[in-house]
């Protein structure tokens, strides 16, 4: 099983804090989690983050994704915008069924795709029923 301990409410607070220019706050990105049977797929929104500003770390029990969107010069902003770089951070607790050696990540058009294959012995399988 795969869990994420951040909630949409956290994002609201974090984003409002960012509007106030507090650079220490981070944005918790929106996430879709899909169970594809033999693997989990995470799709994490990080608009404006390039490949070189994305990091994916595997910790003992968790997967940590960090990205940075560069700031726009404050004197040019008319509407919204950030006064500092915008950091994204998402942390997922990994279950025992995830094969840690086969995790793969890629970023495309502001979306981070993380494939978390299930261990062979934990993959769903059809069990033949003998009629005796």
């Amino acid at each position: 099983m795969l869990t994420n301990w951040t909630m949409p409410g956290d994002r609201l607070v974090s984003e409002l804090a960012n509007e106030r220019g507090t650079a220490t706050e981070v944005v918790v990105p929106r996430v879709d989690v899909v169970d594809e049977g033999d693997a989990y797929q995470l799709i994490v929104e990080m608009p404006g983050v390039s490949k070189d500003l994305l990091s994916v770390h595997l910790e003992a029990e968790a997967l940590l994704l960090r990205g940075v969107r560069k700031a726009i010069a404050a004197e040019c902003l008319l509407k919204n915008g950030r006064r500092a770089d915008l950091p994204f951070e998402a942390r997922f607790t990994l279950g025992a069924d995830v094969d840690r050696g086969k995790i793969r990540a890629r970023i495309e058009d502001g979306l981070v795709y993380v494939k978390l294959p299930r261990r062979e012995e934990d993959k769903p399988r059809k069990i033949e029923v003998e009629i005796g």
């Binding site: 994002r11 609201l12 989690v33 902003l77 509407k79 915008g81």
Partner: protein, 149 residues
């Protein structure tokens, strides 16, 4: 009685230029509690002023840029399109779904005239940047002010 041309309400009319309320409006408008694709959602936007142009940066991660329509009606910039479901054709099932899908629309009243025929858009890293060159009468226009003695 006179006829008044109808234009869609922009967030600026609703909240003025307060970035906090503007941001709150974006967040509340996005259905992050169930992903109801029937509703129109509203992508966040930054509007940037440079020497001779305006730049609108719209957050549209994972979108096909060809599905986005950018239009200008007077000084009202409108961006609309559709974000399709990632997994509608796969066998996967959602365990968690926070992304906004379906039709989106965003409009912003520009602070001054732009050259409508020279507007361009590009898409990179999930951000659509719309480049709006300032109308020539706006660039370097000198306003003479009479000073009373």
């Amino acid at each position: 009685m006179s006829l008044i041309r109808w234009t869609p309400r922009t967030e600026q009319e609703l909240f003025g230029r307060d970035p906090i309320f503007s941001r709150l409006f974006n967040l509340v408008d996005i259905d992050s509690f169930g992903g109801n694709s029937e509703r129109t959602w509203c992508p966040p936007m930054d509007l940037v002023e440079e020497k001779d142009r305006l730049l609108a940066h719209v957050e549209l991660p994972g979108i096909d840029p060809k599905s986005v329509q950018v239009s200008l009606q007077g000084d009202l910039l409108m961006i609309q399109g559709e974000r399709k479901e990632e997994h509608e054709e796969t066998q996967g099932k959602y365990l968690r779904r926070e992304h906004a899908y379906g039709s989106f629309q965003r409009s912003v009243q520009l602070p001054y005239h732009v050259q409508a025929d020279k507007v361009k858009a590009q898409y990179k890293n999930g951000i659509m940047t719309i480049v709006l060159p300032t109308a020539e009468e706006q660039v370097g226009r000198q306003i003479l002010v009479e000073v009373e003695k």
